[in-house]
């Protein structure tokens, strides 16, 4: 409040001379540091210590069950992780889930965004109801779908006429987990795409319609290119989120039936087996994987660049 007042005083004060101007600039910078400082310090402090600690631990033999036996082991934890088939299997599981889930979320999210944008029927109500899966607690959505798919308690096996429990084999478990992810996250994808849709000027569509373009042509040639920045941001956000998938798998079966994700492996190594050295190496590798994906999106496709070409 006082900060706002201070700012408006400096803004009102006439600044005809060069000297006064640099004072003003300096005051503005000082105020900015005071305002941004707390948020920046919290973000850096809370993430920096664990990151450094993780890197240090990943270079040690550190096992909470044998606290006396810690010692430096160089990169051998990384070697152990990268040589184990479990790691590569979990990378594969994570990629399968991410690619399928994000693809469906994109197609369905685009349809939902178009409906939210263009519908003539109950637009407000439609948007409210479509948002519900986004608001639902992830754990609740996981339980609801888990019980729905289970042969003993669920309605899905009945509807599909299944006689064996879909959650007892790999294909069924994947289907259930991926459907849960699609249901929960399509609305968020749709919201991010809706933001892009709102930027497409109606006049362009009108002009193209007058020129005889079909609906599909207009979508393909006008809407898609113009909303490309929003699409890339949406795909980036959702992909990073799916690569870190944890909640749903934990609730479903903690990674049984060959569905263990990287985050699940990370969790069980750290908190069940209490092997901090190996677990930290997994953490670092997961972080590197996420960074590579983000880098590919941002540098490769220009995600994060706005329509003006300015980085977000």
């Amino acid at each position: 409040m006082s900060a706002v007042a201070a700012r408006s005083e400096t803004a009102i004060a006439p600044a005809p001379q060069r000297r006064r101007l640099s004072d003003r600039v300096r005051a503005e910078r000082r105020l900015a540091v005071l305002l941004v400082g707390p948020a920046a310090i919290v973000m850096v402090a809370v993430t920096a210590y664990p990151v450094i600690d993780t890197i240090v631990l990943s270079l040690q033999r550190a096992d909470l069950r044998f606290p006396g036996a810690s010692k430096w082991v160089g990169l051998s934890n990384y070697g152990a992780v990268l040589k184990s088939s479990v790691w590569w299997q979990d990378v594969l599981h994570t990629m399968i889930i991410s690619v399928i889930a994000v693809s469906f979320q994109f197609v369905l999210g685009m349809l939902l965004a178009l409906a939210m944008h263009r519908t003539l029927v109950a637009r407000g109500l439609l948007r409210s109801i479509a948002l519900i899966p986004y608001g639902i607690v992830a754990v609740v959505s996981a339980y609801s779908w888990n019980y729905a798919w289970s042969l003993t308690s669920g309605w899905i096996p009945k509807v599909l006429g299944l006689t064996s429990d879909p959650l007892s084999h790999q294909f069924g478990t994947y289907a259930a987990i991926i459907v849960t992810e699609i249901w929960k996250n399509t609305p968020f994808m749709a919201l991010l795409l809706l933001a892009g849709l709102a930027l497409v000027p109606d006049e362009l569509h009108e002009a193209a319609r007058v020129d005889g373009a079909t609906t599909w042509q207009r979508f393909r040639r006008i809407t898609l290119p113009l909303m490309m920045p929003a699409i890339l941001v949406a795909l980036l956000f959702r992909t990073l989120d799916e690569v870190r998938i944890f909640d749903v798998i934990y609730i479903f079966n903690q990674g049984a039936n060959g569905t263990e994700s990287i985050s699940m492996l990370n969790y069980s190594t750290l908190l069940d087996r209490l092997n901090l050295g190996l677990g930290s190496a997994v953490s670092v590798l997961l972080f590197v994987l996420v960074a590579i994906i983000a880098f590919l999106f941002i540098k490769g496709f220009g995600a994060g660049a706005g329509p003006s070409g300015k980085r977000a």
């Binding site: 029927v121 407000g124 639902i136 929003a230 870190r244 985050s263 990370n266």
Partner: protein
């Protein structure tokens, strides 16, 4: 059929389809919560025997009522702190010219992308050493941190839209700086702040990964963590009715927020995504 009538029919069918797809899992968990223990595993969508006993059950269990208290308290405090810090930062980003503006946005983006599971191990260790394990602050700190980037992006998008000249205009008309802030700027900034508060609260309310890793007892366990640890009749059976009832209770506040503030949530999330 006229073109308009055809369009209306098409959009009505789309409406029905979207409503059904969005609501079936929600209705299903409600139905499950209303089944008696004997019929909980009969697989029927609509209960054969209706009961409210699951609800009275969970409210009799200390584990659920304390979890509800923890969820509300931790969620509100984390959200308030995140929105306060983010509002200060967003004001500077939207209105002031200073070096490092891009750097702060880059840090925020990096925090968003960070795999939270990578923080869980070190935080678990550190919290145990300094006594924050299984306490409210032990969850508030990570929640606040991970809520900050989104809050900063959303709020700076909102703050950029505020016509700040009005503040000076009010002062020219004789208002003190504080009056100008309270009567002119605060009302304009409020919708953005409320929106951000709601979005951030939903995120904190929904968290699972920190809650199961950094808490262990009713002292700080939030509802998502408590649900996953409800004691079953035996080690291998889950108390389906109790879990479903708890799931419904924890879903109701979010549903109310979403239905009441749909317009704002949409505006907030899309503003942060596009203009951030």
């Amino acid at each position: 059929m006229s073109q308009r009538a055809r369009q209306l029919t098409g959009w009505s069918s789309a409406f029905v389809l979207i409503v059904v797809l969005s609501l079936v899992p929600v209705v299903w968990i409600v139905m499950l919560s209303l089944k008696t223990p004997a019929t909980a595993t009969d697989g029927a969508f609509i209960p054969h025997q209706w009961t409210l006993s699951n609800y009275s059950d969970i409210f009799k269990q200390g584990i659920f009522t304390s979890a509800l208290r923890n969820s509300i308290g931790i969620g509100l405090i984390s959200t308030a702190l995140a929105v306060l810090l983010a509002a200060m930062a967003a004001y500077a980003i939207a209105r002031l010219d200073f070096p490092g503006k891009q750097a702060i946005l880059a840090v925020a983006l990096a925090v968003v992308m960070f795999p939270q599971i990578s923080l869980v191990g070190p935080l678990y260790n550190l919290w145990r050493q300094i006594g924050l394990y299984d306490t409210w602050p032990g969850l508030i700190v990570p929640y606040m941190t991970f809520a900050l980037p989104l809050s900063i992006y959303t709020l700076s998008a909102f703050f950029r839209e505020i016509p700040w000249e009005l503040e000076q205009a009010a002062q020219v008309d004789g208002a003190t700086p504080f009056q100008a802030f309270r009567k002119v700027i605060a009302p304009l900034a409020m919708p953005g702040i409320v929106t951000t508060f709601i979005i951030v609260f939903i995120i904190c309310w929904n968290d699972f990964i920190f809650a199961i890793s950094l808490t262990s007892t009713t002292k700080a366990e939030t509802v998502p963590a408590a649900i996953a640890q409800f004691p079953g009749a035996s080690q291998f059976t889950q108390p389906i009715g109790d879990i479903a009832a708890a799931a419904v209770v924890v879903t109701v506040p979010v549903m109310v927020l979403v239905l009441l503030f749909q317009r704002r949530i949409v505006a907030g999330l899309t503003a942060g995504a596009v203009k951030g």
